[in-house]
Symmetry: C2
């Protein structure tokens, strides 16, 4: 389904219209996209919404229908970024069901475009989990990326079952907490960060500032993502100022 | 325009139909996509194809028309991955012209889905340039990523002006040449690699094997990309075997 209400590629629409059955899941990612109702209207046909439990534990019905017919599974963003999708695809292929992917917009490449940061300078990404499931992982990834001068995309935790999507403010708090705990000097209130809210939506918001400043800003409804820039090229610095309102001083500190 | 002939998101089609002028460029990436003629048919309107020279050196006409009207610039893959696009966008914003992005499928996230490798385990990507413009960069990036157990996406050089897109076979040769030159022990004929040919097209091909074996394989027409896996999770190993025909032995060596 890509990013946004009309992020689906033309090829996706075509396949969904021609399929025998169309499933859709809305839990692997909190994209600012279609509701299940809007999706049904867009396709002009019935869509069966599947939840995590069905897709991960009881995909038997989906596979059975894929054996005799054409089944489409619509997912938020780009397919196969979630492990669940890969698992389902492998099950299908093992049972002799041929699978194909239709690629769509993903937050993974959208953040580069929105911020003006260059995609080949991003290190590995990490997810910031809710505090009831804490992990040093996003902090470690950030520390390693920073040591190489690389940018870091931090995705924020999302629990569809509880209808909870982490806001950038909470993610910033959690990263500051990890800094207090591990003290590797990679994330403080003075660190330049970029908040990307609602990538793909009409009201997308991209704001770069020091973490302490961003903490006190209201970015509106989720989904939010966070980017912590590494070293900046001149054009990246310009882009952060012009496209994301970054303060000159914070940007200049990172020019490399 | 995303990936493939119908990779364009519905939103992109809508905006292009409503715009006062539609430009398109086909030189920043060799996607197996639309021809300019097919694009015109798809949109049902005139499209002005712009080349590198116009976009980079003489975008005055584009900006002038964007001042009084709605201008759409269609690009291969996801917008703003190329520096040229960022530069044009910054020029527009500096002149008070509001810009917006419509996100689409990109090789950057598609490779993870196609290979079954997990996107959060990819280090920074690099481009393998043609030998008349040699660079140790892809080799260095690969060495650093491997040391961290990360996967590496290698994009292959493309020169629209000369109608030349590098094939995976040549890229493999060049990487082996860099290994002979720098001897850091990160790429040999026994290294497991994944060739992805024509991502987004109906005849997409994904093949994992040792570099020496891939070297002698015909992958058909470009575009090709190369992925060199780092450490593999169990499910990634399964995916490489099932989706890309990877030999058991080569995959097992990387399980970590």
């Amino acid at each position: 389904m890509g990013l946004g209400k009309k992020g689906m590629p033309l090829k996706g629409l075509e396949e969904a219209k021609q399929a025998d059955v169309v499933y859709a899941e809305f839990y692997t990612s909190a994209t600012p996209g279609l509701s299940p109702e809007e999706l049904g209207e867009l396709l002009g046909r019935r869509v069966e919404v599947v939840n995590r439990k069905t897709l991960e534990e009881a995909p038997g019905e989906i596979l059975r229908r894929a054996k005799d017919g054409r089944v489409v599974l619509l997912v938020p963003g780009d397919p196969m970024v979630a492990t669940t999708h890969v698992d389902l695809r492998l099950r299908a292929e093992r049972e002799g069901i041929r699978t194909r992917l239709i690629h769509a917009g993903s937050i993974l490449s959208a953040v580069a475009g929105l911020s003006g940061l260059q995609s080949y300078k991003f290190g590995p990404l990490a997810t910031v989990p809710f505090p009831d499931n804490p992990s040093p992982r996003p902090y470690e990834v950030l520390a390693e990326n920073k040591a190489r001068g690389l940018h870091t995309l931090l995705l924020l935790d999302f629990r569809a079952e509880e209808n909870r999507a982490m806001l950038a403010n909470q993610a910033l708090e959690l990263m500051l907490g990890l800094e207090r705990k591990y003290s590797r000097g990679v994330f403080s209130g003075r660190t330049l960060a970029v908040v990307i809210a609602r990538a793909g939506a009409e009201d997308v918001l991209v704001k770069a500032s020091r973490a302490g400043e961003l903490l006190r800003t209201d970015f509106g409804p989720p989904p939010h993502s966070l980017v912590v820039p590494g070293k900046l090229h001149f054009m990246e610095a310009e882009a952060l100022k012009i496209l994301a309102g970054a303060p000159e001083g914070a940007v200049n500190e990172l020019l490399g």
